[in-house]
Symmetry: C5
Amino acid sequence: MILGKVIGTIWATRKYETLNSYKMQLVQPLNSQQQKIGEPIIAVDTIGAGPGELIFYATSSEAVIAMEVDMAPVDASIVGIVDSIYSEIN
Amino acid sequence: MILGKVIGTIWATRKYETLNSYKMQLVQPLNSQQQKIGEPIIAVDTIGAGPGELIFYATSSEAVIAMEVDMAPVDASIVGIVDSIYSEIN
Amino acid sequence: MILGKVIGTIWATRKYETLNSYKMQLVQPLNSQQQKIGEPIIAVDTIGAGPGELIFYATSSEAVIAMEVDMAPVDASIVGIVDSIYSEIN
Amino acid sequence: MILGKVIGTIWATRKYETLNSYKMQLVQPLNSQQQKIGEPIIAVDTIGAGPGELIFYATSSEAVIAMEVDMAPVDASIVGIVDSIYSEIN
Amino acid sequence: MILGKVIGTIWATRKYETLNSYKMQLVQPLNSQQQKIGEPIIAVDTIGAGPGELIFYATSSEAVIAMEVDMAPVDASIVGIVDSIYSEIN
């Protein structure tokens, strides 16, 4: 999984039907020092992450498991909201 | 999922049979400021996205879920047409 | 899917058994202007693409769908031969 | 699979429910000389790897196989703790 | 699939149980001129590839198909040993 921050929302009225009840969040990937890495991606939000929150998201075909519909064409899902990061080893 | 713009179409009469009823769109990946990132990819269009439209597409093996046939060798599908992008957090 | 050109063939007598009846083609990935991008990959040929032909290939676990055997450890399959690319939008 | 070192832990009380009994470890990817490559990722720990240990992790949708729950939205799992690396060929 | 050379072995006594009967090989990815590309990865060996041999490996979730156990958290498998590469097109 990858750390990220919710930085916005994508609005799309025409979309694949099983996606209709889900929010599409714009997520900036971050490294463990919470610095930006690469470009924002679009992830389905399944746990109610709000704008500005530090989250982690799963990619690959397992992302769809986080959704209540069985079959949805999704490749990134927000699966946790980060409370803290503990790291003392380099 | 990744933002993109439909910039063209790939014509292919000889192709894997379950792909025959689908349009293969050439899609330029974009960042959240709608600037180009990387090279165009080829995505199956399942929602009727036209040339020039801002869309988002799913990759990985879940892309095939957006198709009516059960089994198709597809790794990228257009799954939504973007109305607007809301982002006020950096 | 990604555009590419068949540039060669890999010969391997010892290989995983379900791969035995398939040709392993060396494929150079191309951008939409048919310029090389990155290094050649090895893709299973399921539609009879010959050397020099412009094709597109699927990656990820859906690549195996293009094969007649149910289970084969394959991550890239040639799934279409390109007739033409139409693109007038940048 | 990729070599890595456990460098920390991610704490998240709100997360997708099937993830609740698993530890989310921060893992620094390493090359075969144990030098850092790229940014740390977050992997589920299924074998009890402690901080500072040299491990290898699997990505892609097979990462979920290492978990006792059938369905979890996970894309990286620690699957082995390295005793030694033997390499005399370049 | 990607070309590579077996350059070493990873020893790990503590690992996910379905991996126990498999050898974890260190594989250097190569381009079609057999020059190194990127960092070595760890692949399961299912066909008895020895050190120094030119092989090709599959990634993604199909890699697990090459194993005799149904479920193993594996994302790269050696699936063929290369006899020769034929390429006369650029």
